[in-house]
């Protein structure tokens, strides 16, 4: 009997490959929200029927899984695993049948080693160059597996050094060489070959014709083998004849070729059920129908996929279903639902809008249309899947929002859509509902033990935004990392070109040790707190030390530019523990009285630690030794008291950069810092917890003293705001006035470095270089600075 893998191999050759696997280079996705379902345990829960928050950015097969669960159809472990990765590459075939052991090409390469005269081979090319830079798969796993088994048998029967076996191997090597290129010839058959070799040769010549694209000849040869009572290959003849003609039909695409292939399949289907390849009749007919009777096949797949139990080859069936639905006049319901959730504009319309303008309007209209469709279907059918679609598309405050929120509230706890409905209900009412009510509801949900890591993080984000006090805020500000490599396997995001690699300087520990970090919404809120509240947060023992360092260092940047020396001293005490690499500097700051020297040593730290900023959004955590601290520097500007600039907090879109569906300059109201745009296109505007809102006025006053420089190539930097002073200028002035100060040579060194890596101010690097080499030519710092970059 042909093994399951053969069916996959044939199917792969005929239908389009899964485009998602190849959708683009790997890029970094969110580290705590995963539209691909997270780790193995979380995926298993979904396969078992416990649906989490439906995310519109999930892959099509995973959204189809959600559709099944929303409609009482089973998924199960096998179907779930198949739908969680792109269908249907050769490696996936193997994954489905791990119990098979060593098969395919490796089995063949191993078997060849039994023959002492076999030339060494690393690998065999199994595809031929096709037109327009394509490759055409020619040889599949089963061919190598069969050849390996045959070679072992012939060696056992006739000996590894037998001339006939050597000739057999040479012929088979040539047959497989034809998998990768045309123009191969088979070695001549010796005169008077033994019967076994003659029969094998006939089979090899038929396979050779098949790989060489001579499909009719291959079919004839396999037909002859099927009639040869002496051939051990006789049982395979009818199936391989049909398969040769199927390949011929797909290559030639003529009605005659399709008819011939169908006739051969019909012949095969009339043979006894146990005939080799008889079980492949249905798949071969589907392969043909995919090309010449797509509407008929789509309807057939629609019926098949509507069953309660998943079909055995669900991934292949769904892949074909999805591809055919894209080309159909009308999409079947599941595919219409997926398209509605995604609400992507037509490609041509988008290209036109990008050329002529109106991209934003096109997206708005597309989403509005999708929302209207989803709502109409929900109202007409009361199918909760369409409620889920409508919810994912609606913004809080939109005319439809109240009605949809009310409908979401009515979804029962036993409904597979319940968690999604609860998430959207919270999103739509977060700013309007009493905070205590939202807190109570979310606390009840978060008390459950069956939430996925991703869902828990999303709901925790919502809970944090209604935190009753700073302590609650600290508690809910942290998110659990998922898919962190060696520590947690089973994530499938890497198969969809979302990156497995994850950012640095974000977690409570370094590398794969890191398990928690601030949510993006938490970072945005922390950046909107006044210094007093930030300092308190930076001392909250509920936060891991690394997070306290992040808050404390950005607090330090703020305190310095605000000229709040008391706060600087307090923070220096904290930072002596949190950033001991700079312990002498922290002590020096505290020991220096207010005055020019204190400003100098305060600025010194800004020059030595390149990643310090006033906000977490563009801050880089210093990790390791000082020399390992990450670039770049910024050009620190200090304003005089009473002369602030217009307060401009960082755009919320900047915090959503790892997520989806937002431009870096998009409006705050369109952002989603809870699900990072992965759950749908409906916005989730940030809600400041009440304690943070109470401090907003003070935060705005302080914000007026934070200058965020804007640069562009080939242009002079913008003028300093009135009364503004650049930290590097003041340090250089201090250095000239205090040449014997022990910190000056090193300070000049760091100003040179800052000039090289993004923090230059008015040729500050060059000026520091000239002063360092003129006044301290023998110092270690001068020797470490042979160049400046201006």
């Amino acid at each position: 009997m042909v093994r399951r893998v053969a069916a996959f191999a044939v199917a792969m050759a005929l239908a389009a490959p899964g485009a998602a696997l190849a959708s683009g280079p790997g890029v970094i996705g969110p580290w705590y929200v995963d539209p691909f379902g997270g780790g193995a345990a979380d995926l298993q829960r979904v396969y078992d029927g416990r649906l989490g928050i439906v995310m519109a950015r999930a892959s099509k097969p995973q959204l189809y899984m959600a559709w099944r669960l929303l409609h009482g159809q089973r998924v199960g472990r096998e179907a779930g695993a198949a739908l969680s990765i792109p269908c249907c590459d050769a490696s996936a075939d193997w994954r489905y049948a791990p119990e098979m052991g060593e098969t395919g090409m490796h089995a063949w390469l191993d078997a060849r080693k039994l023959v002492p005269l076999a030339p060494e081979l690393e690998r065999i090319d199994t595809e031929r160059a096709g037109p327009d830079y394509t490759s055409i798969p020619t040889c599949f796993e089963e061919a190598f597996t069969t050849a390996a088994a045959t070679l072992k048998d012939r060696v056992a029967k006739y000996g590894a050094t037998s001339g006939d076996v050597t000739l057999w191997l040479q012929t088979q090597d040539a047959v497989f060489e034809a998998c990768g290129r045309p123009g191969v010839t088979l070695p001549l058959l010796s005169a008077g070959p033994p019967a076994w070799l003659k029969a094998d040769r006939a089979y090899q010549e038929a396979a050779f014709a098949l790989y060489d694209g001579r499909h009719d000849e291959a079919a004839d040869r396999f037909a002859a083998i099927g009639k040869d009572k002496a051939s051990p290959w006789r049982p395979m003849g009818p199936y391989l004849r049909a398969r040769s003609l199927v390949r011929g039909a797909l290559a030639n695409r003529t009605p005659e070729a399709f008819a011939k292939a169908r006739a051969a399949i019909a012949d095969l289907s009339k043979l006894p059920e146990k005939t080799y390849g008889r079980g492949e009749v249905r798949d071969m007919l589907r392969i043909l129908a995919y090309r010449d009777r797509p509407a008929q096949l789509l309807a057939e797949l629609d019926r098949e996929l509507a069953g309660r139990e998943p079909p055995a080859d669900i991934a292949v069936a769904f892949r074909d279903y999805a591809n055919l639905a894209d080309k159909a006049a009308e999409r079947p319901q599941p595919m219409a639902w997926i398209a509605t959730l995604r609400a992507a504009p037509d490609t041509d319309a988008l290209s036109k809008a990008e050329t002529e303008g109106g991209v934003t309007d096109l997206y708005r209209r597309t989403r509005a249309s999708a929302l209207a469709q989803a709502q109409a279907r929900w109202e007409a059918s009361r199918d909760v899947a369409w409620l889920v679609a409508a919810l994912s598309l609606v913004d809080p405050g939109a005319p439809e929002a109240a009605g949809l929120a009310a409908a979401a509230a009515k979804v029962g706890a036993g409904d597979p859509a319940w968690l999604t409905a609860q998430y959207h209900l919270t999103r739509l009412t977060l700013r309007s509902a009493p905070a205590a009510e939202t807190r109570a509801r979310l606390d009840a949900i978060l008390a459950r033990t069956d939430l996925s890591v991703s869902d828990r993080n999303i709901l925790t984000a919502q809970r944090m935004q209604v935190a009753a006090d700073p302590g609650e805020f600290a508690r809910f500000s942290l998110r659990q990392r998922l898919c962190r490599g060696e520590q947690e396997d089973g994530c499938t995001r890497g198969f969809w070109h979302a990156s497995d690699s994850q950012p640095y300087g974000v977690y409570d520990r370094t590398g794969y040790e890191g398990a928690r970090g601030f949510g993006e919404d938490a970072r945005a809120i922390i950046d909107r707190l006044p210094l007093k509240d930030r300092i308190a947060l930076g001392r909250d023992a509920r936060l891991p030390a690394a997070m306290r360092l992040d808050v404390a260092l950005t607090n330090y940047g703020r305190a310095v530019v605000l000229g709040d020396h008391a706060a600087v001293d307090a923070l220096a005490a904290d930072l002596e523990v949190l950033l001991p690499q700079l312990a002498p500097e922290w002590r020096k700051i505290r020991a220096t009285p207010v005055g020019l020297e204190k400003r100098f040593v305060e600025f010194f730290v800004l020059a030595k630690v390149p990643g310090v900023r006033t906000d977490l959004v563009d801050y880089n955590r210093p990790e390791g030794a000082v020399a390992q601290f990450r670039d770049p520097w910024t050009n620190w500007i200090v304003l005089p008291k009473g002369k602030p600039v217009k307060p401009e907090p960082p755009a919320l879109a900047l915090y959503q950069q790892a997520g989806a569906g937002v431009d870096s300059d998009g409006p705050d109201a369109a952002t989603d810092l809870a699900c990072l745009g992965e759950c749908g296109q409906g916005a989730s505007p940030l809600r400041l917890p009440d304690f943070a809102a109470a401090g907003a006025a003070q935060a705005t006053i302080e914000r007026g003293y934070f200058v965020r420089p804007r640069y562009s190539y080939g242009e002079e930097p913008p003028p300093l705001p009135p009364g503004g002073v650049a930290a590097w200028d003041e340090m250089l002035a201090f250095a000239k006035a205090n040449p014997k100060h022990p910190m000056v040579p090193e300070a000049l060194y760091w100003i040179i470095r800052a000039g090289r890596w993004g923090g230059s101010h008015n040729h500050s690097g060059k000026r520091a270089f000239e002063l360092l080499h003129a006044a301290y030519p023998a110092s270690a710092w001068a020797k470490r600075s042979p160049y400046y970059y201006d």
Binding site: P25, V27, I28, S351, G490, F495, S501, Y619
Partner: protein, 231 residues
């Protein structure tokens, strides 16, 4: 003073795995075509070629791109033989006479960097003379010393979907800063859906489009890049 922009940026359009017709670009851009996909799964090297056609003008396609990835759902059995096999497969997708540059797109976790470097070394050893070796990289890799060991002529840091570090990297580039690793200063990669306000000029720019290319997409991307240097 900030770095002065160069007059032009050589453009290379990425033709990823989808039907593409790039004849509209003519001689205004080269094409890097995805020709192969390789999955390292357990002890196996599974490879397949491109399935969707690319239409391009004569001489336009210069670069073969081969994507590799590791199937993390089972322990990787990595040996010298598997390394040689993977390199053989990579080179097999870059055998055509039009290939002037081979680009390896292989994203790895920190613990897997020796695998990436090993494959690159084996590929380099088997590369025909006159063919350049390029690789894609997460932008963050360009800040790490290990990348300097990659035996490549060019690294193309991907300046889109960069994660939480994205704002910092964008700011650095906008401020005239650059990547720490010198090999990362010869090329860069941008996406049509993540416009970059400014980036270092005079480098090869790989253009990624999350959907099939159109003439309008290309024109827009080119205008944005020209704006980096005020051309």
């Amino acid at each position: 003073m900030l770095a002065a922009p160069a007059a032009s940026q050589p453009l290379t359009i990425w033709a990823w795995e989808r039907p593409e017709d790039l004849r509209f670009a003519g001689r205004d851009a080269e094409v890097a075509v995805m020709t192969g996909f390789i999955v390292l799964a357990g002890g196996r090297v599974e490879a397949r070629g491109r399935r969707f056609p690319l239409r391009a003008a004569e001489g336009q396609v210069t670069t073969a791109v081969v994507h590799l990835q590791i199937d993390h759902r089972r322990p990787l059995v990595w040996t010298a033989a598997r390394e040689a096999e993977a390199a053989h497969a990579v080179l097999g997708f870059a055998r055509a006479p039009w290939v002037k540059r081979l680009q390896v797109d292989f994203e790895v976790r920190a613990s897997e960097r020796p695998i990436l470097l090993g494959v690159l070394k084996a590929v380099r050893a088997g590369l025909p003379s006159g063919v350049e070796l390029s690789m894609t990289a997460l932008a963050s890799w360009c800040e790490e010393a290990w990348l300097g060991q990659a035996p490549v002529d060019e690294v193309a840091p991907m300046l889109f979907r960069m994660g939480p570090a994205g704002a910092s990297i964008r700011n650095r580039l906008a401020a005239g800063g650059d990547f720490t690793e010198p090999k990362c200063r010869r090329a860069l990669a941008v996406s049509t859906d993540t416009p970059l306000p400014r980036a270092p000029a005079g480098r090869r720019v790989y253009l990624f489009n999350p959907r099939s290319w159109s003439a309008a997409d290309f024109a827009l991307a080119r205008r944005r890049i020209e704006a980096w240097s005020g051309e």
